[in-house]
Amino acid sequence: MSWGAPVMFWLLLLIPAVLLLWFLKIRRTEKTVASTLLWRRALQDERVRSPFQRLLKNLVLLLQLLAVLLAVLALAAPESGSQRFTSRLNLILVDTSASMNSVEADGRTRFELARENIDEIIDEISGERGMVIRFSSRVEPMTPVTSDRALLRKAAVELSAGSGVSNINDALELALSIAKQDAVVPMPVSDSVSEDGLEVLDPQIDARIFVVSDGALPPWGGESFPVPVILHTVGDASSNSGIVALAARREFSEEGDLRVVVEIRNTGDELITGSLDLRLDGVLATESVQKDLEGGERWTRSFALQGSGKHQIEVHWHPDEKDALSLDNSAWLIASQPRSIRVARVGKKNFLLDDALAVIPSVVVEMVSLAEIDPETAADEFDVIVWDREIPESLPPGVGHLVIGARPLQFWPDEIVMVAQPILVAWKKDDPVLRFSQLNAIDGTVVETYPLPVRDGVSAIAECREGALLARFHEGDVRGIAVAFDVLDSPWPLTPSFPFFIEAVLRDLARVSHGIESGIRSGDLIEVFGGAGVSRAVLTNPSGESEIEIPVLPEGVLRTPAGEELGIYKMSWKKGAPSDSNWNQQLIPVNLLSPAESSIEPKPSIAGISSVSERQSNGFWGDARFELWPWFLASALFLMMLEWIVFHRR
């Protein structure tokens, strides 16, 4: 037996207090009698004749002391087993992804079936420790590691299926991490201890992972799994069809200026017939299209629309017979007219840079001198300022900066040693500004450069051995991208990647999209740049039934996870005084669009996880640890009742 709160043993000092109270309680009234002779004999006689009476006299005190002792022991949180023993850890991963909303033949959803499985698992792990973790697009522990099965059950009851995709990999990684942290070094058995008294034993993981899911899971991409994974597959239905892709682009053709492409897939084996609707701002844009989909068939349909300006686009797939999963039968996106980027060009004449700026659509460039930049109004006048070999001592806040051939002294105040023809050692291919650019043109070709040291607030995009050639800098409201060399000292401006780089930098710094908002998936982060001065922001869900206040982050960034409801969310914010009634708005579509979730056919195993046999609990590692305090407390209460009865019977 071990004690969870041994400090409570201090309360044993209550026992002397009880004794003191006892002696105070039986202070007797004194009475004078002729002789105590007969009373002494009577007492002696009574004790001889009724030994139980004497015991009864002290029984009250005995019961009180026992009750106090048991109450103190209860407070000390006793547990069965010793500290060196541990009970098995059971990590229950519950799939709450969109596919768990599939309706089975009996009318119940898969998640309702999953609840029954969770209850069975919680019953099965009686006496062991458990933890409930839910996973869909995000992974969220719902309980701490506990042996309190009521707590596990309560967490399971509060769970519900959402609209996200299954992120089993993150869930398994989290579970594995918890299991590894829980690993214990076994105590050497006395017989096996070596002569020097030391024995090195590896930590042992005594854990199981239960996955309650329909098996519509991506394959495990990690290493071999050292913990038994027991998959409880729920559901039988497999017939489903749904929208798995929705995209749009601006184009200028005879048919229209907006093209929308929809992909629908029959993920089951049976023929499904249905019709497809496309609505523009809630109005049917074309006639419904009827389609028969064979089992496993993909169908891509393209629509050309007259849709310049801002529009809400919805597509709905209507199977003739109700399919198992309805969440994937609709999808949304927003088409908007991209606004122009206002660019101030400061610096010496550079026709290659000016040509690059000139070919970028929706960019308005204004040539200004260094002296004409007003730091206080620059953020209102321009989205981006391009500094070419000229730069002020302090960059204006609230506007994006592209600094070429110079260094912002705010970030790099120290002198930098010149490097000739630096060799590129790394660059971030996934950075948005390099998405369409190749940097081969600057690899060992730059005549001279001043590589920028990486420090707090600076991240390198492309770097040579001495420092960054391309770097992002960010501190407070001042942000931008620095090019650590004069572009004219390199062949880069002569390559096609240069204008792509400049366009990507301008769109990144100006935070302007291409005019098509394809949205995010359920559970992903909604992120809106409200700009400086945002005082209040509200997010409205697609049905318009709820509005939640969104905290405003520095620079007016509004960020919150999307809810489980699919559709078009509306982020509203306003600047200035709270009484100002001018609200800005941005619509954010939240879609499922997941072939994996639409494939609802249950699978018996998780691909990529080799079967690890479940280790049976044994005496050393599997001893269940029970909390014994309720028994002690109950016993204390029982003794107090008994004491009350004995006292009054006397």
């Binding site: 009234t29 009475k31 004078t32 002729a34 002779l37 009577a42 007492l43 006689d45 009724s50």
Partner: protein
Amino acid sequence: MSEPGSEEEPLLDEDFLARCGRLALLSRKLVQGKLRGEKRSRRKGMSTEFADHREYVAGDDLRHLDWNIYGRLEKLFIKLFEEEEERSVVLLLDASASMACGEPDKWRHARQIAAALGAIALASGDRVQLRVFDRELRPEMGSIRGTRSILKLVQALDELKVGTETALLPSLRAHAATAPPRAIQILISDLMDPAGLEAPLRQLSGARGESWLIHLLSRSEEYPEELGDLRLRDVEDQSHVDVSFNPAIIEAYRSILAEFREDVRTLCGRFQIQSVEVSTATPFDRVVLEILRQRGMLA
């Protein structure tokens, strides 16, 4: 006006004294007195009242030969005459502190009984001696006789105060050493002596005269009705005993009390002492006029 039975009330009233005048202590044995009195002694002597005959032996007074018998039987018989003697009554009163305990008061009850018996004895011509003891025998007040001494006796009893602890043996031993022969000795006590009763009662043996014991207990000693946890303190030796009153302990006490009384009765039987168990719950006049008469002690 004083309450009946209170300390201010006289121990005996006139009415009761008048009724006592018609009573006499009834001795089962004749007693020897120094003076010719009203009571007959077994000592046969020179009195005028014929008592019996016996055969003549050499040395007898020839004047007491019964010639009529000699004429009929031709045998010599001496006529015996009963000698009338006065009788001594010794009132042995326990005045230890324990006598002042109990409800109702034992001390007043004991003095009233003593006064009544003394008055009866004086009224019937007996010599009365009051002996008071607690730890030891107190100085004697001397013998009194005659009805005129009744008030003196009552007054002496009225003025008595209780003393300290009980020591029956030394007190009764001192009494036995100086007791008049063939007297009626009446012990009035609660007998609460932790030293035991056998040796003290042996001193009161009826072999040397008539011995009575009036064993007096209060009602609260006979029927304790206390409740709760009490510390009982002995009034004499100040020792204490803690008692949690409950039916079991009260039952045990009563059983012990019954054994105690039985022991007293056994000892009294062995030492030829007539004993009477008296409770303060019984009024003293009823004790005297009914109980003692029913027991043949008064007539």
